[in-house]
């Protein structure tokens, strides 16, 4: 027997679900847990951003690119060098701060490009369907098939490594990633009765997209973007590590790891410090993304 049609729902209102069984104390504990899961990572991110972007405006930090070789290998908490200096005498804390700037600049730029270009492609493909969807989906597929790192290598070889080139290369990855998520979310929303109702009310397509689709897919986009920023930071770090991202004298977390790699066994802190910075940043972004999804998902 062939697959039967899905049946029209004939039921009356389903009985209300049995109420949850938490008492007042448990409820408070749950709420506290939820708030912590949201604000602790958010606070960490805010701290990191403040450190990377506000601190240099407030105090003068030692140069992150040049160092006096006399003061090399200073230990952490030395005067004038909070985290010490590396082999060439460059201050580690400065490198961390300016490297963090670079990491966020690249990640936010790539994500923003992804949302603007990829998001638009995704929404248009999802909303209009048909041949528009077919064409745009193929475009996204082509982009996603590009291995981002290999592309970055090529661009770096051809045009020389720089921050801008890194952003271009990683956007090739960012655009289709956001595009596919947006397309999926748009497709889901488009099938809902309130979209048909809006159509029947006479609302034109652009207004449908702007007032109905965008507000309803925004939670998904934001959550995905936060996770995406974390991914891009790691990718950018990898590129720098390989030497195809931010060029050497400019500080970046990846470069720090690359430099420290040679003396890993002797002075592990040169690798550990930037690695821990990466870990805390990306983990916090992930946790924040999860907490937001939890909060908006239940709304």
């Amino acid at each position: 027997m062939a697959a039967p049609l899905p049946e029209v729902q004939l039921a009356t209102a389903a009985p209300p679900p049995l109420p949850s069984l938490v008492n007042a104390r448990q409820l408070r504990a749950q709420r506290l847990g939820r708030a912590l899961r949201l604000w602790v990572p958010a606070g960490i991110i805010i701290l990191i951003l403040a450190m990377c972007f506000l601190l240099p405006l407030v105090t003068t930090l030692p140069s992150s690119t040049n160092g006096n070789i006399i003061y090399n290998n200073e230990a952490p908490f030395s005067p004038g060098h909070w985290l010490g200096t590396n082999v060439q005498g460059v201050d580690i804390f400065s490198q961390l701060v300016y490297g963090g700037q670079v990491a966020f600049e690249v990640a936010v730029s790539v994500t923003a490009i992804g949302i603007v270009i990829g998001g638009t492609l995704g929404v248009v493909a999802g909303y209009f369907g048909g041949w528009v969807d077919a064409v745009l989906s193929r475009v996204l597929d082509v982009l996603i098939a590009f291995p981002a790192l290999v592309l970055a290598l090529v661009i770096a070889e051809g045009l020389g490594p720089s921050e801008i080139h890194t952003i271009w290369a990683l956007s090739v990855f960012g655009i289709p990633a956001v595009g596919r998520i947006t397309r999926g979310a748009t497709l889901t929303i488009r099938g809902l009765p309130y979209m048909t109702a809006a159509r029947l009310a006479g609302t034109r397509s652009w207004r449908m997209i702007a007032r109905h689709i965008l507000p309803n897919i925004m939670p998904i986009i934001v959550t995905f973007s936060l996770l995406g920023i974390g991914v891009v930071i790691i990718l950018e770090g990898a590129l720098d590590f390989l030497g195809y991202g931010i060029p050497a004298p400019t500080a970046s977390w990846g470069n720090m790891i690359a430099n420290g790699q040679q003396i890993l066994s002797a002075q592990p802190e040169y690798v550990l410090i930037p690695s821990i910075a990466l870990l805390i940043t990306v983990a916090s972004l992930n946790m924040l993304g999860d907490a937001l999804r939890e909060r908006w998902g239940t709304q």
């Binding site: 039967p4 049946e7 039921a11 389903a14 049995l18 109420p19 069984l21 007042a24 409820l27």
Partner: protein
């Protein structure tokens, strides 16, 4: 009364929700005789489903359940999981509303029935399969041997419900609880399933509790009808005493329900007598009669004091200070 199959006494079920108490079932008592068909009628939030889940032990741990529910003398409330498993299926079984979700979509229909058999009895797999096919025939599924091998998504809604019934009957329970079992079915399929259930009752000497929001279903198929509102029984009587010629509905809520459902012989475009408002918040039930805020016949005593459920005429109980007049008219 001691030979009643199921005796429920002053059943109370409360859930704590965020510091407040939801009185889902608020002192419900009824009996079910062997082979009898009892209909429990109520809208959403009346407590009808919670009541029967309490009897089946299907409520989450930590729910406050008080009172007693005795099946042939043995208490069903407060049992451990192991003891509950013994009762479920062999003494009491339940059929739910949505067979699409109650059946495992990855297992063949017949296998699920066979599994129900082996849970309670020690038989070989082959023997269980044979008995499963017999059960599928019992619930009037045509070509039972072929259907045994089909997956739930290949069956229609009516068929799936029959499979659910077969699973429930695997060990010949003495009491079957059907929780809105036909609500999601077409009316013609519903009639077929109800006929099946009634025939099975006679064949297997089984009592049936049907939970529904449909008074018509109760009128057509039940021996005894219980109407619930806000966790309490508000009216109870044999179906013949409530409906049809010579029947009289006395409690105002039952009357409102009866007036609100569509009647075939009503002329088109009649304005229905309506009851405004919504069912009460179960965490903040009004002090008097729970229906008083919506009842147009409510007086001060209705709002002040909760009416007691009492047998005012033989075998007809109701809880209302100002019930409808005899003869059913307002």
């Amino acid at each position: 009364m001691t030979d009643a199959l199921l005796q429920v006494d002053d059943l109370r079920v409360t859930f704590p929700v965020g510091g407040r108490e939801v009185r889902a079932v608020d002192g419900v008592s009824f009996t079910v005789e062997p082979g009898q068909t009892l209909a429990i009628i109520g809208e959403s939030g009346s407590g009808k489903t919670v009541c029967c889940r309490a009897i089946m032990g299907l409520l989450p741990a930590g729910t406050a359940i008080r009172g007693s529910a005795r099946l042939r003398g043995s208490e069903l409330l407060g049992l451990s999981d192991a003891e509950l498993r013994r009762h479920r299926g062999s003494d009491v079984a339940m059929v739910f509303q949505d067979p699409a979700r109650s059946l495992n979509p990855t297992m063949r229909a017949g296998v699920q029935v066979a599994e129900a058999i082996t849970t309670h009895r020690k038989v070989s797999k082959r023997e269980a399969s044979t008995q499963a096919v017999e059960l599928l025939r019992l619930v009037r599924i045509p070509a039972a041997e072929r259907r045994f091998h089909e997956y739930p998504h290949q069956l229609s809604g009516g068929m799936r419900q029959r499979v659910m019934i077969a699973i429930a009957l695997a060990c010949r329970p003495k009491l079957l609880i059907a929780d809105e079992a036909t609500t999601a079915l077409d009316v013609t399929t519903q009639a077929q399933i109800m006929e099946l259930l009634l025939d099975l009752q006679k064949e297997l000497d089984m009592a049936l509790i049907m939970i529904s929001h449909d008074l018509g279903l109760a009128a057509s198929y039940a021996d005894e009808v219980v109407v619930m509102y806000a966790g309490k029984i508000v009216e109870q009587a044999p179906a013949t005493q409530l409906f049809g010629a010579g029947g009289a509905v006395r409690m105002r809520y039952t009357r409102a329900l009866l007036d609100a459902i569509p009647h075939l012989d009503r002329p088109a475009h009649t304005q229905l007598p309506i009851v405004g408002g919504r069912p009460p918040d179960p965490t903040a039930l009004p002090p008097g009669c729970s229906f008083a805020p919506r009842c147009q016949y409510a007086e001060d005593d209705c709002r002040a004091k909760m009416p007691t459920l009492a047998e005012h005429t033989p075998s007809h109980r109701w809880a209302c200070w100002h019930p409808c007049e005899e003869g059913g008219a307002a």
